[in-house]
Symmetry: D3
Subunit: 242 residues, 6 copies
């Protein structure tokens, strides 16, 4: 059961409204990495979760993200309000101006409607926690970029608060993952096929204007078997080159 208190989680102040920045802010309201996506991803994972402790964690953070949705929505609303007034402001976001009368809606910075395709909900707790760590990392970098694109002090403050909370959540999800006690590569119940699991396929080779072939800990040492260009090898054999 939910309750709403008529106070924002972080105070929102805006100097001069900047509709084109307001449009950018919509990324975190109705965009792929935004607050609704976070709120829904965690809350629904929580609803599905059979592990009571992590269910609680998912509901705590899922609920906090609803409060963030309200903060970013209020901030975007203040920047977009003039789109209903002048033609030049309307051009900043015609969809908000004409259909919304300057009010926000669950669109991203290019007017795409929010879709549940943004969500990663797997029904497997060690997978969902990884989904959430990645989601928080994305949200963090998006807030950082938004901060870089405005000079408005009040906007920067609110965005810094929201950005900070993503790191908080990332840490919490990492702790929850670690405390499961599963191996770093252990997902679900079926083991991978030994041998095959250690083969690194060098499927992109050569050197040129699209990169060069390099090595690193992701394909050498630590049990890796390096397999040189499986498809190419087959071609070479077929052509009798070797």
């Amino acid at each position: 059961m939910y309750h709403h208190v008529k106070k924002l989680m972080y105070t929102v102040r805006v100097g001069t409204p900047d509709p084109r920045f307001g449009r950018m802010l919509l990324e975190q309201f109705g965009g792929a990495n935004g607050e609704l996506a976070a709120a829904m991803q965690y809350s629904i994972q929580g609803l599905n979760c059979d592990d009571p402790a992590r269910k609680d964690l998912l509901m705590d953070i899922g609920t906090e993200e609803l409060s963030h949705l309200e903060v970013i929505g209020t901030l975007a609303r203040l920047h977009l309000k003039p789109t209903n007034v002048t033609r030049s402001a309307a051009e900043a976001d015609p969809l908000i101006a004409i259909c919304g009368g300057g009010g926000v809606n669950l669109f991203n910075s290019q007017g795409n409607p929010w879709t549940a395709d943004y969500l990663k909900i797997s029904g497997q707790i060690e997978v969902d926690l990884r989904n959430n760590i990645a989601a928080e990392a994305r949200a963090k970098i998006v807030y950082e970029r938004l901060i870089d694109f405005t000079d408005d002090a009040g906007s920067k403050d609110a965005l810094q608060f929201l950005m900070t909370r993503e790191i908080t959540h990332m840490k919490a999800f990492m702790k929850a993952l670690d405390s499961l006690g599963k191996g770093a590569l252990e997902i679900g119940a079926r083991p991978p096929t030994p041998g095959v699991v250690d083969q690194y396929f060098n499927d992109s080779t050569g050197e040129g204007d699209a990169g060069k072939d390099l090595r690193g800990p992701w394909n050498q040492g630590d049990g890796w078997e390096f397999v040189e260009a499986p498809a190419f090898k087959d071609l070479m054999d077929a052509s009798g080159a070797r």
Copy 2:
């Protein structure tokens, strides 16, 4: 530049075609966690990547996923072929039967068209690698579930191969992330606000048919400050209860 060799990366054998299972297999052809999503996510991250070593990694695995797309597509095709022949088979997947004549297309198990909204591409390497670790974890659990839903030996074999490779890739992406040398909570350039970053908000409380309030390493110890129900506290204050 790409080249195609007319040999599957893993041999595909099917006993009796099972159209309803074929429909399930489409999840990994045109679905949210499927092989096209993986191929595009990694290859486009690679195209954008300025770090030559990790660019190579992304292109290697992105290219391998194209070969996986071919394997899973061939497998699904074999199971779905009868949808063009009998009415009862057609009912298993009317879209494939009527629009595709029994041929596969980039739909998922419920006929939704593949969409780039499935992709997580951030333009920030430490974020993209986390996106990829999560993507591989999802693909692994999906393959595991598919294996559990068929008795066909050839199908199981091919799915086991594809499932195994997801763990291979997960390991490679983890190594690539670790070798960046950034802190576990360090994303982008802007630091979070000290203090605020350590506060855990207990935003879902009480006990009942929707769970109970619990503690764990994600909200106690290790520098956490536990903040009891911020919105509720505000309500309590407002009601004069405290």
Copy 3:
């Protein structure tokens, strides 16, 4: 700011899980007329609203719908849980079974992802209240149909509660619209063109297997000017028939 209490707004009991009914229930979780659509439509209208009294109304009901989302989600989850266990249950909803491991997600009964295109948010209070009256009417009829398709007593109870609340909200939105004091046909600020506004165009005529031409209070009396088939008239003139 939001807070979550770990108790459902209405107790959910399910006898024997019925996955195919669970799939139908998803209409009210992630479907076009479902609880998320209601919660988002009203809450975002509230966020945009400059009329403090109706803003409060919108937030009250928007928040209640979040609690309904939790109730319907829990009910659907109970019916869909077996999709992860048996192949025949999985066939009831392959997307939930394979991608969700039997857990719910924001899909409708055919697996379409929830989209903000479902929302009707206009930034004009007399329009939004009409949007909401229509939305509640749709949700009411959908709940009625769901009740008709199950024999499970616990499911029927919960659905009856949710159905009842839609009528409550419909009444509240109607009162709020009436109390605005605007005329029944007064929308926004610009008046319609006199004369033209009273013309009823009889653009579908004749009688046959696609209906017949009839009259009613929507095209006769009360100031209506009945204009017979404007396009046809033009054709008749052109053909010299009159």
Copy 4:
């Protein structure tokens, strides 16, 4: 059966083409509240309708909306034609310029493709008429905003005609609803639960930068039972505060 006459329902004149305004006009061509949405919503409701008189009404107005689609499309086309000629005009709507060669398509002002998710078709006449009243209200306010964003006299004239017709339709749908003789809160066949239906849940409370708690005819008098913050009450009880 349909017939097309090569004459617009309203003459369209444009002075200087204004591509950025043309893009705005696309809202009423291929947008959520536009003429195709209206034409399809009413015509398909009509196709499904078993009440011959209201079926006729739905077909009359559904057909008229097709003629409006042609008018607004012609108007948008005139404004967008230069996008194929100069780079600066192309920037006004790159999708129309590059993919359409300056020709219109069923996109909205931000290039989103028209989707049937815009439609509200319920198969229940008292619901569909409410859907239509709301749809006409939305279309009216959108036309009003478009008129406010242009100085072109010919464009204003055509938009005023189209805006006026929305009020005509709204009146017709209201008459058709009233003449059904059902109660204002009577939807479908199942009655709501007495008692529960009269409870107003005050789920958003307190006072602050997100609003304040207010009363009105939507939550007092006329049989309403005012229920103070159900979730909060539960929390208060749990905390022993009362």
Copy 5:
């Protein structure tokens, strides 16, 4: 300007309603190759077209497709009506049953909403006519498959009529393309680069379970220069094999 006559273009009779076949029929109502797609594609091309003769052709056929939409919709409606009555019929198409009360909507056989992404509108007449020839070919094969999946004589009759008309339209579009007098490979104004345009790249080579390498008039004779595996050649050179 459009006018609707209350008579179907082809009489629709249905013996025993077959909801699962009704669902299949939706492909031609709200599906990718269906009648709305055809009606909109041709009518909007017509609206954009500056060539008066082909504009007339596009409007003639675009209007006929609206009449086809009505025929196929009526047929689907008859087959889907029982979905509102029994649970087993409802399972044939839960979206139609629960949201539509057994009435049709612009969905395909898997419940996907119609989208303007189905349309191919280019603003270039020699391209649009090719788009239309391909569209008619798709619609023809879809009708053929539908006929093969039913034994109902009335349904077969109506589908045969609709299928036949696709060939009529295909012929008309081919005549209109031929009469333009442009070369078979002449599109737009810019000529392709000589030499490069005649090179056939053999980018998929070898022989195995994914096919074999073959020749035909599409890569030999008639001016073709056959380029053997450009990427492979580069690899071979790099590996020093040649």
Copy 6:
């Protein structure tokens, strides 16, 4: 099985990055007529194809399109890179700037995500080849328009190469269609109904600001039976005018 070689199929050089042009280029990366659509359409048709020779053709060209995807993506990336740096560049494409950090993704020029709804895959070879001829014609005209909107020599060169290859492919698909030996109007197996197939319905008539009625080889001669306005005739009869 696929292999990637780290060399572009055509060298990409960019003088001064032009983010607004970069956004236009995305049409051919993640847009409706772009290279991914081509690659997937042909490769999946190839995977489904039972005719070994045409399967080879489809795989050859499908693979080449993957190399084109890499070329156009690299070109777009160079133009869009500054969107991550300055606010004014970010405004050229806020989605790429904020979510992608200046990196490309599978969006079109208006930020719409790529969708498999763009694909035309029929499971019938004579239909698929027509789909492909039309697809190549669209891609050709799009490249031509892009060339017209830039002055950058390197961009023009690469686009000219890609444009040229579309004509190459168009020719190959035409040859493959011709060599099937089916009649120009022969699709699938069921013949159209004689007589009905030769009737041209003049469903759009009259003369005015929406065109005029004209004749051409698509409705006269060559066996055509010209049927004057079927719906109108019916109306005339009903009104007793004749």
